[in-house]
Subunit: 476 residues, 2 copies
C-alpha cells in the first residue's frame, strides 16, 4: 500500500480503489479471493473505516468485487478488460471474393461507364434543386417512405405502364441492395427456403446466406431461370432477374414469364434493374405486370443507368408489404438521402434521364457487339457464351479443362481482370466460367482484353494437354 | 370442356392447362383429387394422347399437380394464389407512437431548425463539388467504408482530439441510426442483454427490440445513466449518450465517465451526436477518449447540427469491429451516398460547418433559456425538470396525478404537440413525463407552447382534484 498519498488531490478512497483494480488486473488478486475485512484493513493502514468502506462500495459498484452478507467481499469472475473482438462479433458467412488488383482493363464491375456520365445534365439538375424553393425542407429530416414528390412520380409512372396495380405502394431505398436487405428482414426467417438463380449476383446470395436462409440454386438456362425446376420446388421466396440477368445476361421469354407467376404460393422478388438497357429485340412485360395475385415485388434503381454513387432505388409491392418495409426502413436508417432524391427527380422529370438512356443504349449496343466479336475471334475452341440482348454482362464458359479462378492471377499480371464463375455460384459450380462486364470499357479495351484472355486460355489449354501427354514415371 | 377451341392461336394443350388451373383455383378440383388418366381424357375429348400428356406435364411443371408412378396425377396441396401477407411477414415488435397531427407549435421532433439551415453555405459547398475535378468518380459506385477523403478527414480530426486511438478505424454510415443497426447486426445475438438508458430515444429501443435482444433499462439520474446499477448488471452491450441525453438532456460528469469505462467486459456504444451543442459549462472528454481497453465505439453524425436530410454519420472503433461492420454495410446498401459525403466534406473543411455551429450554439442557448423560463413561469406546482447544459431536449415531469399521454390530444387541439414519456420508456414508466424538443422553435413559440401546456395541465389537475372531492354515492 506504499502508493497511498495523503497529499494528493485524489481522495484516499479512490486511491485505494485504484490499488485494488491494479491488483485484480495484474492477476495478483484472483477470482473468488476474499478482500481483507474493512475494519482489519483500516487498522493496518491507519485509515478511517468509512474510507475503506467507500472504496469497497465503489469497487462493488464498478463490478470488480461482490459483497456477500456475513462473509465479506470477493473478487468477481475475471473478465478481461481488453475487448476480445473475434469472440464478441457474430461470424461473417460471406465467402471472400478473389483479390483484385488495379489493372488497365477491368471486366470485374457490372456498372455504367464513368466516361458516359452526363455530368453537365447532373450539374443542371443539381443547380435547379439548389435554386428551388423547397431546399430547406429537402435538407430537413424526411419521411421513411421517401421524398414524396419522387415517390409520387415513380408510382404514377409505374401505374401508367401497368407495373403497379391499384393495391400497390412504393418505398424509396438506398439502391436495390437495401431493398433486398429490407425484404430479407421482413420476409425471411432463419432456415426458410429462398430460391436463387444459379449463377447469381453475389450481393443477393451473400445477403440471404448471412441471414441464415436455406438457399437453393435453380439452374439458369439460356431462357433464364428453369421455370419447371422452380415449380417443383415451390420455395417461399424466389429472387428473379427476368431481363439480362447478372451474371448470365439471359432473358426469360414471354411464355415462361407467364408460367413463372402462376407457380402457386411463391413470393417473387423481381430484380428489374437492367431492363432499360435492351440493345435489341422487343421489350417484354415485367413479372409484376403479368401477376394478378399480388405475389410479385418489383425492385428498380437509377444506379445501372445513371449515377450509382447516389444510391437511390425503389420497391413496388402490395400495400401491407410496403407498410412493413417502411417500418423496417425507419429502424434501419430513418430514410434515404433527400437531396439526391430531389436531384434525380429533376433529372428524370426534365427529360435528361431519357436523353441519357438513349446514349447508354447506343454505347451499350456497340460494347456488347465488341464483346461478342472478341469472343468469336479470340476465345479458344470449345468456349461457349450466351448472347444477351441487353445489360452489362457476357457469361463465358471456357473449355471445362480450364479453371477461370486459377487463370485470374495470370490475367491480372497481363492487365486484365474479371470475376470467375465460382464467385456467382450458389452450389459451388461454374469453375470454368467467367463474367465479362463490358459496360464500363471502350470497344478497343474490350477487344484487347478478350484477346489477352483468349491467348492466356489457349496457352493454359496447351500446357494442360502437354501435361496429359507426359510419360508417367514408374513408381520406385 | 366446352371451352377448347381448335381455331384459336393458343395450342390445345395450353387451353387444357388453363382449364385445369381454373378448376383448381375455383375449388372444383380439390387437393388430392385424381385427374382423369391421359388415355381416358384423350378418348373423351377426341384428342391425341400426347396433347393431354403435354398439358399434364405443364401442370406438373407449374406445381399444380403431382404425378405418382402407376397411380396417376393428383392435385397438389392448395396454396392460395393470392398472397396472405400478414402470414408471410415477420411481425413488427415496435410499439406505435402516439398519433401526431400537424400543429402550430410542435415540440415533438429532436432536430435542428430549418430556418437556421445555412442554405447559402450549402449552395456554395455543393457548387464547389459540382465544379471539382472528381465529380464523375463521386457519382460512380464507391467503397463500402465511405468516401475516402471524408473518411480520412474525420479520422484525422478524431485522432487529433484523442477520440480515435491508433488501433481505431472509421466507417461512414447513413446517419447514426444505421450505425446502430449495423452494430446490432454484428454484435447482438437474439436473447443477449443490451442495457439502455431509461428513458431513451425510441429509435434505439425499437431497433434492439425488433432484433430480439433482451433489453434492460437502467435509470437515468440527473447525472446521466446510473453507473453503479450498470456496474452490477455488467451487460454485454450498453448504449450510452453521455452528453445531453435524448430525452432527458442529462450529462454524465467526469468522474462517473471514468467509472463507466472501467466496468469490466461491457462494450459501450457511445451515441455522441449532441456534444457540439453545449450552451454552458466546460466540455467533457468522450467515453472513447477515456477508454484504454478498446471497448468503446463512438457514433457521430452531421445530422444534429447541419442537414439531417443528407443522412451522413460515422462510427469510430477498433479495427476488427470496423472491418466486420464494413462487411455488413456492404451487404446492407453497398455504401452511403457519395455526393452528400463530398458536399459535407467541403462544408466542414472550408470552415462553414464551424461558422454554422457558432450560430446554432447562439440560437440553442436562447431557446433552452426560453424553455427553462417557460417551465418556471407556466408549469403547475409540483412539476419538475432537469436543466440541461446543451442539446435539444427538456424533460419535464408533471405532477404524478397527470398522464402526459392523455393530455396530448387536448394539447394538439390547442395547437401544441410533444412526445409523452411513455414513448421513451424501456420499462413502461414515465407516464407523467414529456419531452419538449425546443431546438426547432423560436423563443416566442417556445414560451407560448409551454404556456398552453401549463394551462391545460393546471385545468386537468383541478379537474382531478374536484373529482377527488366529489361525494361518494352510497351503494344501493
Amino acid at each position: 500500500m506504499a502508493e497511498l498519498d495523503p497529499t494528493s488531490s485524489i481522495p484516499i478512497y479512490r486511491q485505494l480503489t485504484s490499488h485494488f483494480i491494479c491488483e485484480i488486473e495484474a492477476g495478483r488478486l484472483r477470482e473468488g479471493e476474499r478482500l481483507p475485512a474493512t475494519r482489519e484493513l483500516a487498522g493496518q493502514l491507519g485509515l478511517n473505516r468509512t474510507t475503506v468502506s467507500a472504496a469497497y462500495e465503489l469497487l462493488e459498484a464498478e463490478g470488480w468485487i461482490a459483497g456477500e452478507v456475513g462473509r465479506g467481499s470477493f473478487v468477481r469472475s475475471r473478465v478481461s478488460a481488453a475487448a476480445d473482438w473475434p469472440r464478441l462479433l457474430t461470424p461473417s458467412l460471406v465467402p471472400r471474393n478473389p483479390a483484385l488488383t488495379p489493372v488497365a482493363i477491368s471486366f470485374a464491375h457490372s456498372r455504367p461507364s464513368e466516361d458516359l456520365f452526363p455530368v453537365d445534365a447532373f450539374r443542371e439538375s443539381t443547380e435547379a434543386v439548389l435554386r428551388g424553393p423547397g431546399l430547406s425542407s429537402i435538407l430537413q429530416l424526411g419521411a421513411p417512405a421517401g421524398y414524396e414528390p419522387l415517390r409520387r412520380y415513380l408510382l404514377e409512372q409505374a401505374r401508367s405502364e401497368g407495373d403497379a396495380h391499384t393495391d400497390d405502394d412504393l418505398l424509396i431505398t438506398n439502391g436495390c441492395q437495401q431493398a433486398l436487405d429490407l425484404l430479407r428482414q421482413v420476409l425471411v426467417r432463419p432456415g426458410e427456403t429462398v430460391a436463387l438463380e444459379d449463377p447469381v449476383y453475389p450481393g443477393v446470395r451473400n445477403l440471404f446466406l448471412q441471414a441464415g436462409a436455406s438457399l437453393t440454386g435453380v439452374e439458369v438456362t439460356r431462357d433464364g431461370i428453369d421455370v419447371e425446376a422452380l415449380g417443383r420446388l415451390r420455395p417461399k421466396i424466389a429472387v428473379i432477374t427476368p431481363s439480362f440477368q447478372n451474371p448470365t445476361g439471359t432473358t426469360i421469354p414471354f411464355e415462361r414469364r407467364e408460367a413463372l407467376v402462376r407457380i402457386p404460393g411463391t413470393v417473387f422478388i423481381e430484380n428489374d434493374i437492367y431492363t432499360s438497357l435492351r440493345y435489341q429485340g422487343a421489350p417484354l412485360p415485367t413479372l409484376k405486370h403479368l401477376d394478378r395475385s399480388g405475389r410479385v415485388v418489383l425492385l428498380r434503381s437509377f444506379s445501372k443507368v445513371a449515377f450509382p454513387g447516389l444510391r437511390v432505388g425503389w420497391v413496388i409491392g402490395p400495400r401491407p408489404l410496403i407498410q412493413r418495409l417502411t417500418q423496417a426502413k425507419h429502424l434501419t436508417d430513418l430514410h434515404t438521402d433527400q437531396f439526391s432524391q430531389a436531384v434525380l427527380l429533376h433529372f428524370a422529370q426534365s427529360g435528361r434521364l431519357a436523353d441519357h438512356q438513349r446514349n447508354m443504349l447506343q454505347a451499350g449496343r456497340s460494347r456488347l457487339s465488341a464483346a461478342l466479336d472478341g469472343a468469336r475471334q479470340f476465345l479458344p475452341a470449345g468456349s461457349r457464351w450466351l448472347e444477351p440482348e441487353g445489360g452489362m454482362n457476357l457469361w463465358v464458359e471456357l473449355p471445362t479443362m480450364l479453371d477461370a479462378g486459377g487463370l485470374l492471377s495470370r490475367a491480372q499480371a497481363e492487365g486484365v481482370a474479371y470475376l470467375p464463375g465460382r464467385s456467382f455460384s450458389v452450389s459451388n459450380q461454374h469453375h470454368n466460367a467467367l463474367r465479362l462486364s463490358f459496360a464500363g470499357l471502350t470497344e478497343v479495351q474490350i477487344a484487347r482484353g478478350i484477346q489477352i484472355l483468349g491467348s492466356i486460355s489457349q496457352q493454359e489449354l496447351e500446357a494442360e494437354r502437354s501435361r496429359d501427354r507426359e510419360p508417367v514415371l514408374a513408381m520406385v
